[in-house]
Each structure stands twice: as C-alpha cells, then as structure tokens.
C-alpha cells in the first residue's frame, strides 16, 4: 500500500508540474510584448487619444462668459470655466485625460519591459523603440505634472507633483504616491536625455503620429523652456529649425488660398497635414474642441469674443506691425449674432467616426498638433530673451511675423526699440478701476527673476507670450503660460453688447486652482488630492494682487 501511495504522490507532483506547462497556453489571441514587431506595434498605443484642450482653454483668459442668458453651455463647460473641481463626465474631462496619459505610460513601460526581457536594446531598431517609449513616458508625465500640479519652481522643492510610474501595473488596485514637481521634472529630463540620442525616423510607417526626431526636439524645446534650462531649449530648438527656420514654418500663404468653407475642411486639415513640415507630432482625440471652438453655436456661452480678439489677441498683436485681423495670411473667422460672438481660428478638423451609420452614432474626433515648428521658434525666442540675447529673440520673432502676415507687410523687421515702444504704448490689463479692461500686456509674476516692468526683457517676454497665445489659440496651451508666468486672470462676464460687465472671480498668483484637481474617481481610489481651500475665500477676492512687481 505504501508503495502505491508513494507512487501516486510522485505521479501527482509530476502531474502538477506538467500541468503548469499545459496551462501556460494563452486563452485567446492575446499576445505578449516579446518581439521587435510587437513592441513597435505596442507603441502605437502609447499616445493619448484624449486631450486637455477643453479644460485648459476654458480655464484660460482666452474666453469670457457671454452672460447667463446665453443658452449654449452645459454643466461640464460651466465647471471648466468657473475653475470648479470637475464632477461632470465627458470625453474631454480631466479624468479621461488622466487615465489616458497613465495608460500611455503603462504601455510605454510595457514596451520597455519587453525590450529588457529580450536582453536590452541591442539592435539599432530596439534602441529607436526604447527611445520612443521613453519619450512617450516622459511626454505623458510632462503633461500630467503641468496640468495636475503647480508649475515647476526651482526654489520650491516641496511642491507636490504627480506619480512618476516606471513599471507596469501588476496588482488590482495599487496605491501610488505623489512625487514633488522637481522630482518629476528630473525624471522627465532623465528619460528625455536617454531617448534623444537614439530617436530615429526610420522605423515608423506613419512618422508624424509618433515621436520622430523633430517631435522629440520640439518636446525638448518646450520642456527645457519650462525647466528654465534656456541653453538646452535653444540647442534642441535649433536642431529642429536648422539654418533656415522659415522653411520649417507653417505655409500660411497656402492657407490664404484655401476655401474658407468649414464643410470642405481644407483649412483645419492643413493645420494637421502630416505632409507639412510644421507638423511634428500629431495626436488624435475624442474631442468636441472643433465644435465648441468652431462654427457652431455649441458651447458659445464661453467664447473667444470680439472684445478679446480686438484688445488682447488678434488685433492687439497686429498693432505691432500696424495692421488688424486682416493683416494675417490665415485670417480669423469672426462670428456674431444672437448669443454668438466669437473670433476663431480653424486649427483642428471636426471628424466623425461612425460606429452605427444608420442611427448616426459614433465618436467625435479631432487631430491636433502636440507641438508645431512655429511654437519651437517662439520657444527659442523666449529662451534668447531670458538669456538677454534680445537681438536674436527679435530675429526669431521677425521670421515668425514675416511668415504670418500678409505679403504687403512681408518686409517687417522687429527691433528691440520697436518692442519697447510697442509695449510702452499700452496699459497693463485689468489696471482700470473695475479691474476688467483687456490688454495684450499683463502683469507677470513668475517664480524666477526677470527685469522690471517696462524693461526690454519684460517687454520682449510680453510680446513673445502674445505671439504664442495667438499661435496656439483654442488649443488650450495658453493655460501653461498663465501658470508659468504667474499671470492673474479674471472670470469676466460680458454684456449683451460684448463689453466687460463684471468680474466674478480671480485666479491669483498662488491660487491652488492653478493645479487642476485630481479627478474625482482617482481621488476616490485613494490618490492624494490637490489642496483646495476649505472655505470660499478665494471666490470672494475680487481685487487682483498687482503689487508684486509694481514698485
């Protein structure tokens, strides 16, 4: 009997071992990231398909409240505009973007782990893949920290950032700890530096939808500008722009020749045309942005209206070269009517993916530029300005202006004198009695030092911010300059006639709402929230704190 027991125990243990091999068969046609081809395919999914454009654009000074009587809004937009922590759900809400970015990070980490499991990045292709994965991971974290934390401040090492995730998720519901912003930035820099030498274009089938070389340089350009490492910003910007930056910029002349017809969509599609040099990294997204900021009534209660267009953005900037909105090659679209007051640029196409054509159901999509060459040129100008190389900054701005304005003004040259004169000619915004008058020039309260108001450096920065604001209008990128430069902005309500009527709220320099609140479901899952004042003190403060740089 004992013999039998022994035998059967032996058989059992052998059975268990061989069973494990038997059970290793994957249950379906899933796959594992364990070959070059598969890792390459996996990285297709390391790019976000949601966007921040709605919540950062509506939070910025690019829009005003057109008044309670304007019916074209919903609760989601109300929350975005009023800097309230978002509780509504939408494809464009902070939660979608948060989850999306962390999924990109997870995917990038999976690709990196796949490369490790193959013995490391030994071949040139694997090196390129590793670079792409690192860039995707760095970009996603970069967007996360800039949205969900206060802006980077070299002097405040304790500012709370987001989690920098470097390995794939293994457990059901792991609890992640938040790092500081400075740690986040250091990690991003590390990933970026590791990636940049290896990034290549050769292995992409659709390079503009991946981190190609130029996209990587554009990312580095923006990152090092934010990181206050201006040399590096200039270095990488120059790598992209080359010796003749003009040829790299958007062909605005071509836009002027396109039919100004939304349904033909040729203008917005040109902005995101993969064959153009100005596009570096194109991202697709489930988005209402082209509708809310397009020729529809939808969402028009909060609008980039004629007053802003005239006094802060389009016309205010054109005054530099003595023009108005008509002096741009890519002319703005101006809409007015009952409950409609909007100046818009068609930067993004509105595209529809039908899932059920009969019922007319599907997804709203758009394509947008994560970075453009135009932005890189402006970044370089800003870096020059910060390094006191004002002539070089003016040179870059001249290139941009000549490319942007109509041919008759094509010989315009920007000089430092023109900058200071232009800026001296106008008041700072919100300096009037009611604190709501617009101006291109706004008080800056950055965490780093610049020359006093009225100085050449400050004037040049003012101009560069205005140029970037125009260039990225409706794309939600203004918000990052508002944070970076400590610009205080109001929540301003307009009269029916489109003039400022009242101010309901102010975003102060250190207003905690500059860090978008961690999404509700993430907080419920145990993530540390961003601080918010217990009471409504900030909502009551209607007077801007302008005294910091005044004296």
């Amino acid at each position: 009997m004992k013999k039998y027991i022994g035998l059967s125990l032996l058989a059992l243990s052998m059975g268990l071992a061989s069973c494990n091999d038997f059970l290793d068969k994957l249950p379906d046609n899933r796959t594992e990231a364990n070959s070059e081809v598969k890792i390459q395919k996996l990285l297709v999914a390391a790019y976000p398909t949601h966007d921040h454009m709605a919540f950062t654009e509506y939070a910025s000074d690019n829009v005003d409240d057109m008044g309670e009587k304007n019916p074209y809004t919903d609760r989601f937009l109300d929350q975005l505009y009023s800097w309230t922590d978002v509780t509504e759900t939408d494809n464009q809400d902070p939660e979608s973007y948060w989850m999306d970015l962390y999924q990109c990070i997870e995917t990038a980490n999976m690709a990196l782990e796949g490369i490790e499991s193959m013995g490391g990045a030994t071949t040139p292709t694997l090196k390129e893949m590793q670079a792409e994965a690192l860039l995707c991971r760095a970009y996603a974290h970069f967007m996360l920290v800039n949205i969900f934390a206060m802006h980077y401040d070299a002097n405040n090492p304790n500012a709370i950032g987001v989690s920098y995730v470097t390995e794939t998720e293994k457990e059901l519901n792991p609890q992640y700890q938040r790092e500081t912003v400075n740690e986040n930035y250091a990690h991003i820099a590390a990933d970026l530096e590791a990636a940049l030498p290896n990034v290549g274009d050769s292995y992409y089938t659709v390079p503009k939808y991946h981190f190609n070389k130029n996209a990587a340089y554009a990312f580095a350009s923006r990152f090092y500008l934010y990181y206050e490492k201006y040399d590096k910003c200039i270095e990488y910007s120059t790598k992209l722009l080359g010796s003749n930056p003009k040829t790299m910029l958007r062909n605005n002349q071509h836009i002027a020749s396109l039919p100004r017809d939304w349904s033909a969509a040729s203008i917005p599609l040109f902005y995101v045309d993969a064959n153009q040099t100005h596009t570096t990294l194109l991202l697709t997204s489930y988005s209402n942005q082209p509708i809310n900021f397009g020729p529809y009534y939808t969402g028009k209660r909060y609008s980039h209206n004629a007053y802003i267009g005239t006094n802060e953005t389009v016309n205010a900037l054109a005054a530099l070269w003595g023009g108005t909105y008509t002096s741009y090659k890519a002319q703005v679209f101006r809409y007015s009517g009952t409950n409609l007051n909007a100046w818009l640029n068609w930067h993004m196409p509105y595209l529809f993916e039908y899932t059920d054509p009969v019922a007319g159901i599907g997804y709203r999509h758009t394509v947008y530029n994560a970075f453009t060459t135009d932005e890189v040129l402006i970044n370089r100008a800003e870096a020059y300005a910060m390094l006191n190389q004002y002539d070089k900054a003016c040179e870059d701005l001249t290139i941009w202006i000549r490319n942007t304005v109509v041919a008759q003004l094509g010989n315009f040259t920007l000089t430092t004198d023109k900058v200071t004169d232009f800026m001296a000619s106008m008041d700072y915004a919100y300096d009037d009695e009611d604190h709501m008058a617009s101006s291109l020039k706004k008080h800056l309260h950055p965490k780093f030092n610049i020359d006093a108001e009225g100085s050449l450096q400050e004037s040049l920065i003012q101009l560069i911010l205005a140029v970037r604001r125009y260039e990225t209008l409706l794309e939600g990128k203004r918000w990052f300059d508002i944070k970076r430069w400590g610009i205080e902005i109001p929540r301003r309500t307009m009269t029916a006639g489109g003039a400022p009527a009242s101010v309901s709220d102010w975003l102060k320099v250190d207003d905690p709402r500059r860090a978008i609140q961690i999404p509700q479901k993430v907080r419920e899952a145990g993530y540390e929230p961003n601080p918010r004042p217990d009471n409504n003190d900030t909502n009551g403060a209607l007077i801007p704190d302008n005294n910091l740089l005044k004296d």
Binding site: L23, A33, T49, E106, Q175, Y209, L269, V358
Partner: protein, 1104 residues
C-alpha cells in the same frame, strides 16, 4: 452498468458467511420488467447475514439451513422472501422508485443512502415533452430549485436555466451540463442575458440541442455544494447530469417513436393590436398633426399606405398614359378606404400550421459479453414561421463489453447534424444616447406581425430604408442557413484488479462545427437599401450610401451597386477530455462502510470563430462577386472589420478525491476536495490553481432500530442531511487579466493613408485575480409517509458568493475588473409527491414542486448607466437582486400630452433624462421595479392512470419577477407601425392628462419645438408605466396516453404499442393584465426570437 454497480454495492453490505451443514439451493433471479436476469441481486438467509450475490446470469447458489427462508433484494426492486427450492426462479418487481436509489454525479454512481448532497433525479420518460426537440426545455417545473425560462422558443436557443438562482454578477450562472460523464462545452459563449437577445448566435447556444431526447434515460440535477463539489471549480451554478440509454442483456428490442406536432398560429384576438380601421383613423390624426404629407412621406426612409399612395400618384405609365393613382381627392379617399377595410392577418400570412415530425428508431440488445444500444433519429420541421425550417439527424451508439470479470469497456459515439434556416438578422444595437434598441433590417415574422400595421397589403411593396420592401419577398431573399455538426466519441475502460478496487480511464473527444450563412440576395430590401437614391433627397439622406471624404465635391455613391451581401460565420470547437480514476469500496466488520474515490482529469478545448462579409455577391447571376472598391475604402475609414478570426483555448486540469464513511448506512459523513487549474486566468501561476471542498453528513433515521417501533407505517423513511461547501467558477469568460491582456487594434486616424495597426493593452494586469467562489450551507429533509405513498422533500440553503468579479476604480487604470463583489442568497425547495389513489386498475399521483430563492448583491462598485438599468434584463446594484430592473419615475402627462419624469437632478422633465448618466448618487432617481429572475417557481402535476390510459395535467408557475412591456411608443410614427389598443386612450385634448397616462401622438410642431423628443418617448418606454409583473400560471401540458393491451399487441406480433396526444403551452391561467397577450417568459427582441408555440403532439411508440 447499474447491475454491475450493484455487485459492488452488494459486496459492501453482505458478509459471505461460513456455510454450515445445510441444503444447497440454486436458482435464478429475473426482473419482471423485461424478463432479464438480475446481476448482483443479494440473496440472504432470513435473519442472518449469510448470503450471496447473483452472478452474470442472475444465478445464485446458497446453502440454507433447514426451515429458513431466503430474502432476495435488489436496488430498485421490491424484496422477496421465499422458501428455498432448488432450481427456483424468483421474479423481482420494480418498486417504482428505482431511479431514486442511485444518484449519478456524472463521475460516480452513489447509493442514495450514502449520498449527502441535494439532488433531484428526473426520468426523461416522465419529463419529456413530446414535440419539443430540445430536451432542456422539458426541465421546466420538474425539479425544485431549477428555473427554466423559455426566453425564446426557436430551436437551438437554450432556455435560461438557473439552478438555485444567480451565482455571479458579470458571469453567466449557467449550469454545467454533463452527458455520460463528459462535460458539454458551449461552442460559443452566449451569456445568460444574451440568450434573450434574438441575435443569430443564440441559435447555437444550446449545448445539448444535438441530443435525441429519446436516447436520454435520466437527468440528475445536482444542486448544493456537496453534490457538485466533485466538479468544484466549475460547478458554482449547479450541474445537470444526463445519462443516456444503454443496451441490456437479452433479446434484441427495436423501438420506434414518432412524434407529429401541429402548432397553432398566434391570433390577433390574444393581443391588443388595432385593426386596420382603427389604425387608419390614427394615421388620419397623424396627418392632421403634420405627418404623412406628400413631400416627406414620398421620400421617407420607411413608409406604408400613405407612402405607397404618393408613389402611385407620381408613377406614370407611358403605355397607358395613366398615373398609378389619379391625384384627386376621391381617388385618394378610395385608396385609403381600401386600406381601412384590409385587416390583413399577418399571423396567418407569416405562420403556418405545418406538421413537425420526429422519428426515432432505437435498438437495444446484448449478451453476457456485450450490450449495445443504438439509435437513429430524424426530425423535420417545416417551420412554424416562414423561413424557420429545421432538419436534424442524430445517431447514437453505446456499447459495453465485458472483456473479463475484471475488465469492462464502454464506448459511446454520438453525432448529430442540423440544418436550419432562420430569417436574416443583424445583431441588435442600443442607442445609448436616446435609449432606443434597434435592429437594422429586422424581418422577424413574429415581431413583424405584432408591429406592422394591418392596413398594409401582403403583396404590395412598401418602403423601408428608402428601398421597396415586402415582408414575403424579403423573407424569401434574406435568410440564414445554419449547418451544425457535432460528434462525441468516448471510451471508458474499467478494471477491477481486486473486488474492492476499481480503476477507470475515460477519454472523450468532441467536435462541433456550426456555420451560419446569411444570404442577402440581390433583390432583397437590405441589398437595395445600399443603392437607394431615386431622388436627390433620398440620396442625401440615405445613411447606407458612401460619400468620399477625400473629395469635397463628392456625391453619395453606392458601395453595393450590384448583387447582394454574403455573411458567413463559423464557430468551431474541438475538445478532448481525459480522466483517470480509482475507487475503493469496503465494509469493515459489517458496519463500517468506506467509499473512497479519486482521480485526475484534463480538459482541452479549442475554439475558432471566423466571420466574413462579402460585398456584391450576385446570387442571381451565377454566384459571382462584383464589388465596388469604395466598400473597402469606406470600411477602412470607418474602422470596420472586413473579416475576423478569433482563436481561443481553454485548458483545465484537476485532481479530486472524495471519501465517504457510513456506519450501518445510518450515519454518513462525506468529504470532497478538488484542486483545479485553469488557463483562463492567464499565465500567472498564482491565480490559476484553486482548491474547493465540501463536508457533509446524513442521518438515515429509518435505519435506526427504534424507528419502525416508533412510527410504524405512518412514517416510513426519514433522512436528514447537511452540507457545507466551497465551490467556484472561473468568472466571466472575458475577465482573464491576471497578466496584462494585449490585443491588436486599429487606432482611429483621419484618413486611410495614415492608418497603422497597433497593439494595445485592453486590460491591465491583476495579479490577484482568482476564481469566483461560493460558500453554501444546505439542510435537507426527506420524509416518506405511509409506506412512501407520500414523499416529502425539503431543502433550505444559504449561499454566500464572494470574490465575484466586480468593478474597481483604480488610480491610473480606470475601471478594472477584480474579485471585489459579493452577494448572498438563500432559498427553500419543497417537493411533495402523493399517491392519492392506488388500486389495481386506477391510480392518481400528485406532484407539487415549489422553490423560492432570494438573492441580494451585498458589495458592488457600480458604473452602470441609466440605460443599462432600465433596459433589457437590467443589472445589479448594491442592495438589490442580481438582475434588477429599474424604471424612470413617471410623473404624468403635461398639458401638451407629453410624458414627464423625475430626472437625475430631482426635477420633473420631459426630455431631460440622460440615459448615459453613471453617477452613483444621481442614479438614485430610478425606481426599483423588481428582479427579472423569478423568485418563486414550481409546478403542480397530476397523473391519472386507468389500465392502459394515462392522463397527465401539468401546470407550471413562476412568480416574483417583472417584465418590461414592449417599447411601442415613439416621438413620431410612420404609416408602417401598428399600435396597441391602449392608443385609444391616448391624450387627445388638454385636460386629458388628468384621466390618462398614454402620451399624445406628438405633432410635427412638437417635434420641431424639441428636437430631443425621442428621449421623452424612450424614457416613457422605460418608465414605471411600462412595467408589468412577470407572474404567471401556465397550463404547460395536458396529455392523454394509451398503452394498448396484450390482447391487441400479441396478435400483431409486437411487443408494445402506445399512443399519446399531448397539448403543450395551451394557455396562461394567470398573468398580469398589463401584459395584454405578451408572453411573460418571452423577450420579443426580434431577430430570430419567437415564443414557444401552443402545440399539439401525437406520439406513436412501437416496440418490436
């Protein structure tokens, strides 16, 4: 098998004593039933323990002391006490309860006295509903604790079977089917909720549709954890064991069974559908409200009488110089008057009384060395509705070889082929925005008859999807052909090296292939819809046309300029099982019975699904494809699939053991353990293994020496059982993320040139993923009164389901599925059988079955949308039953006749219901209507027998659930729709809102004022107004059978002859009045779903 088994059992109980100087007696024991010798009957000297067991020929040889009698007994037979006589022949008579004495668990056969679990045995002969080809439907009302909902009556569609209710929230709760010891795997995973979807894949959802019901001997339904624990990690939702017939030793017997079934056409008299006159008056009102005018109706996507009239008015015939209809008031009125008088009976047109017939021939024969059962059957169903033909052929061979006293071999080969036709259908889709469920191109005859205006003419082509449509023509040209082949071969070798030990090896192979060919022929409406562009208005409006996005000046073109569409879906499954077992049975010192059983098994299942859609198949031009390239461009731009392939693999392996100890058959304890591994949870070795177990005990009080003294005959048997167990299930088939799940996908890109395929992580890893588990505590009582003339069984159970798959909101991965949910349930089951009258010629038996189950989800993170909770089968919310249906609170009609509701913000609204609301707090505005699973089910059956005559009256009932009334309300109707009679009470003029709750037929103006009016009407369809109780009492079966007596059969040289006339599903004795003819069991979802018909079956049985 049974006889061999009893040999073992007998050897357990008997002690072969020393022979004293006595008379040697030899004899034979035979069964009265079939005249066959009984193997293994025990022959004991009365009052002693001396005895022997009959051999293979039923013979025994025993020394009997002078003057003593001998007792001959056998399981399932009445014991005989006789005076010994040499060469004697003892005939044993069945005690009528033979089936109950052995419980078949699929792996083992266990003496009922030693069985500690809760199970019900059903004889197929008794339960079988003649004329119902799928035997699983016959289980309705047959066993306490088992609910069978015939959510669709189409052949091949499985009924929704639940053993003791739901056991999972996202999982299926489908019981495990075991046939002759082999687990039947589904060829495709159709969830319990999807069984009612009406989609084409429901036609292959029944795992046992290929079984000839005449081949089935018994069902054993294993209910509690103790009974099912040998299947441990697969058996959380119960097990249904089917045992098929086997050959018997002796003369060959041939039996023929013929079933001839006539089904009644449904009748408008049972539904409240308007006749054509009332319908036309509604259309007139619609016309007054701005609908059905010329401009819109003649170019509308769908139109009926009015659309046709307008088309005729513009239709010019050059040869006669006439228009199809003169455009005069008189001619129009005349045309409409014809429609008013038409009263088309769609049921009559689309249904038929044709006879379904099923023929089955079986042969049973055997010798001492081998026994054979073989059968063939053919079923022909010309179709209750148009395009629903079925042919099914089955063959079954079951052979047992007794190679030696030690070695037996059993082999079974079973195969079936089914050819079926069904109306063409696409999968239903829910518009999550407006809440409307729709199925494009639906031509289901039943829902067509219910939903189509009776003012339409059967031969006229009206308009649907901008193309000509006629239901008769469409059914001819748009259909699905199914070919289903399945085969199972298995062999089982049993070896008894010594008396007490048996070793067994079982191997089985299963293969199933089902092919669905959906033919949409050249001239069908569905094909024509893709090229309908008669007028520029239609061309611009037709969603099936394609506009090239790359060309800003492009006009819509057809992607199907020629031919039709060919869809092909193939599901293939091949599986093998291997099982090795050992058992040890012994009796120590007469009193201690020990039963050990253990083994291991391996299962391997490979499934392949592939799908293909061919555009431009010219069926009428020699079946050659002629396609437009745009169809590929369009598909690429829409991210649509051109063809699909999915391979999946299931691997399981398990080790199990069970031990039973019984003291004198009085006190029994049992323990079972199973250690199961599955590949379903991915490669993680931590998740894939799970031990399950059970401990249980039984007390057979009637075996106590005092029992008879106390109760005499009043109480004959009494058994008390209790068990506690852990069983499990590997969760929903799509939750497999113990390691990350990476799948290929095509990301959306703005143009075809920018496309690339990628891999994405669809599920993040969950290293803690494990099986869904269930603890169950069961107490059972069995009492037999008055020599078992009254049998009473009672079971009470309490279940705690935990580690159920539920949703977890994570910090970075969004929603993940993990083992975080739990639920609890409890219930009681009662079955009572009484032999009210039992005389020589007449008997009357009553069977009452009742079961109650209650479940409640105790822990569940929820992310359901409003639409998920109010539509279909609802969903679970914490604190509610597992399938709860909620309703939008109706707040009356407003002064325009539009319905108003309480919305998610606590305000009263007409169109403000946001069907995609997910916020837990905001969902609280929904009103709980009830569970969609019945809580109280059972039956009441009476069998009267007089000589050869048998009258059976069988009533089933079901209570405690709610059903959603058909969604008939819309914001705008066309002249195709029919309307229920409740429209007669609709809101007509202001003030009516005080007296009626039927909303107004919204005017054109009302629709213009509010473009979201469809939300209001869909909300109404899902409101508290549109819910009814699902309770019913159904006259399930009345049958009269007659067994012809010997005087008739003998001269004909036949063994037996019987005739039976059976009426099935005759009528509902009770149902909620609100249902108005809607079958509470049936989900009218279109597609291929039809209810169970009322039918009459004549059965002829002939034995040679």
């Amino acid at each position: 098998m049974m006889k061999r088994l009893s040999l073992i059992l007998a050897s357990l109980f008997l002690y072969v004593g020393l022979a004293l100087a006595q008379t040697k007696v030899t004899g034979t024991v035979i069964s009265q039933e079939d005249g066959e010798p009984i193997i293994g009957a025990s022959v004991v000297v009365q009052g002693s323990k001396t005895g022997v067991v009959t051999d293979m020929n039923g013979q025994f040889s025993l020394s009997v002391p002078e003057g003593k009698k001998i007792v001959i007994s056998y399981i399932g037979m009445k014991s005989e006490t006789v005076t010994p006589r040499n060469g004697m022949k003892v005939t044993l008579v069945s005690d009528g309860q033979s089936l109950d004495e052995v419980v078949v668990t699929g792996m083992q056969k266990v003496d009922k006295r030693l069985f500690t679990g809760s199970s019900t045995k059903i004889s197929a002969a008794e339960a079988k509903i003649d004329g119902m080809a799928d035997i699983s439907r016959s289980l309705e009302g047959r066993a306490a604790g088992v609910s069978v909902q015939n959510v669709s009556g189409t052949f091949g569609t499985a009924p929704k079977i639940r053993v003791r209710g739901a056991t999972s929230i996202y999982g299926n709760s489908k019981p495990l089917w075991v046939v002759d010891g082999v687990i039947m795997e589904d060829v495709t995973d159709v969830s319990a909720d999807d069984l009612s979807s009406g989609d084409a894949n429901t036609l292959i959802s029944s795992a046992i549709a290929g079984l000839n019901s005449d081949d089935i001997e018994t069902f054993d339904i294993l209910k509690d954890g103790s009974a099912t624990s040998i299947y441990g990690a697969r058996a959380m939702a119960g097990v249904i064991v089917i045992t098929t017939k086997k050959g018997k030793q002796g003369q060959a017997r041939i039996n023929y069974t013929g079933e001839y079934t006539m089904r009644l056409k449904p009748s408008y008299s049972t539904f409240n559908i308007m006749n054509s006159q009332d319908q036309m008056s509604i259309y007139q009102e619609m016309q007054q409200k701005g609908y059905l005018n010329y401009a819109e109706t003649s170019n509308a996507a769908s139109s009926g009488v009015y659309g046709k009239m307008y088309q005729l008015i513009t239709q010019y015939d050059a040869t006669t110089g006439q228009y199809g209809l003169a455009n005069t008031a008189a001619a129009r009125a005349d045309y409409l008057r014809q429609a008013e008088y038409r009263n088309t009976d769609w049921f009559d047109e689309l249904f038929s009384n044709s006879i379904q017939h099923n023929h089955s021939v079986s042969i049973s024969s055997g010798t001492e060395k081998s026994q054979t059962y073989a059968s063939v059957s053919a079923m022909f169903d010309p179709g209750w509705t148009k395009q629903s033909k079925v042919q099914r052929y089955t063959a079954n061979l079951n052979n047992t070889f007794n190679l030696s006293k030690q070695l037996t071999f059993n082999m079974i080969a079973n195969s079936s082929y089914r050819k079926q036709r069904a109306p063409g259908t696409l999968a239903a889709e829910t518009d999550v925005v407006s809440g409307e469920v729709h199925r494009s191109f639906d031509i289901n005859p039943y829902s067509y008859a219910l939903n189509t205006s009776r003012a339409l003419d059967r031969d006229t082509y009206y308009t649907r999807n901008y193309a000509p449509f006629n239901i008769m023509h469409e059914l001819e040209n748009n259909y699905i052909n199914l070919d289903i082949f399945d085969i199972r071969v298995q062999g089982e070798l049993k070896y008894k090296p010594i008396q007490k030990v048996e070793l067994g090896v079982l191997g089985a192979f299963k293969f199933n292939q089902s092919t669905q060919n959906h033919t949409i022929s050249d001239d069908s409406n569905q094909a024509n819809a893709y090229r309908a562009m008669e007028t520029p208005t239609i061309r611009d409006a037709n969603p099936f046309l394609y506009t090239d996005p790359d060309d800003p000046f492009a006009l819509p073109v057809s992607v199907l300029p020629y031919g039709g569409i060919m869809n092909k879906t193939t599901n293939k499954m091949s599986a093998w099982d291997f099982r090795a077992t050992a058992s040890y049975n012994d009796v120590y010192a007469n009193d201690h019975i020990v039963n050990l059983y253990g083994g291991m098994e391996v299962n391997n299942i490979d499934r392949t699904y592939d799908w293909f859609r061919g555009w431009g198949m010219q069926y009428e031009l020699g079946e050659i494809a002629n396609y437009a390239y745009e169809v590929f461009k369009k598909g690429a731009e829409e991210n649509a699939d051109y063809f699909k392939l999915t391979n999946s693999h299931e691997r399981r392996t398990a080790f199990f053991g069970t031990a039973t100890y019984s003291y004198k058959g009085r006190y029994t304890i049992n323990g079972t353990i199973r250690y199961e591994g599955s590949n379903k949870l991915g490669k993680s070795r931590s998740a894939r293994w799970l031990p399950t177990w059970n401990v249980s005990g039984a007390w057979n009080a009637h075996e106590e020496p005092w029992f008879e003294k106390v109760f005499h005959d009043a109480l004959t048997t009494a058994t008390l059982k209790a068990s506690y167990s852990l069983t499990a299930e590997s969760g929903p088939s799509w939750v497999t993320n113990s390691l990350p799940v990476i799948k290929s996908y095509n990301p959306w890109r703005p143009s075809a040139g920018l496309r690339e395929s990628g891999l994405e992580e669809t599920d993040r890893a969950n290293g803690e993923l494990t099986f869904e588990k269930k603890h169950e505590f069961n107490i059972g009582v069995q009492l037999g009164f008055l020599k078992n003339r009254i049998n009473f069984e009672f079971d009470w159970y309490k279940r705690n389901n935990y580690d159920l798959i539920g949703i977890v909101n994570t910090q970075m991965g969004g929603q993940k599925y993990g083992n975080v949910a739990s639920m609890k349930s409890n219930g009681v089951e009662i079955s009572l059988t009484t032999k009210n009258i039992q005389t020589k010629d007449f008997s009357w038996t009553t069977n009452i079955i009742y079961s109650h189950t209650h479940n409640e989800v105790t822990e569940l993170e929820n992310n359901q949308r409003v639409i998920d909770l109010v539509a279909g089968t609802g969903f679970a919310l914490e604190g509610y039953p597992v399938r709860s249906l909620f309703s939008i609170p109706f707040r009356g009609l407003n002064n325009e006749g539009l319905p108003t509701f309480l919305d998610q913000d606590g305000e009263v609204t007409t169109t403000g219901i946001y069907f995609q609301e997910q916020d837990k707090e905001k969902l609280k505005f929904l009103e709980y209507s009830g569970s969609v699973d019945p809580t109280d089910v059972g039956s009441f059956g009476n069998v009267f027998k007089y000589k050869g005559l048998t009258l059976n009256v069988f009533i089933t009932y079901s209570f405690g659930n709610v059903v959603r009334l058909d969604p008939v309300f819309k914001n705008s109707y066309n002249d195709l729709n029919s309307m229920p009679k409740e429209f007669a009470n609709r809101w007509m003029v202001p003030g009516d809102e005080n007296t009626t709750t039927i909303p107004v037929i919204a005017s054109q103006r009302q629709n213009e004022n509010d473009s979201d009016l469809s939300y209001a009407y869909n909300a109404y369809n899902y409101s508290t107004e549109r819910i009814a109780k699902g309770d019913f009492i159904r006259m399930k079966e009345i049958s009269l059978g007659y067994d012809f007596p010997k005087v008739v059969t003998d001269p004909l040289k036949i063994n037996s002859l019987s005739l039976k006339l059976q009426a099935t599903n005759l009528f509902l004795i009770y149902a909620d009045k609100k249902l108005n003819g809607q079958d509470p069991e049936f989900f009218n979802t279109g597609g291929v779903a039809v209810p169970l018909p009322k039918q009459f079956t004549l059965t002829l049985r002939l034995g040679l």
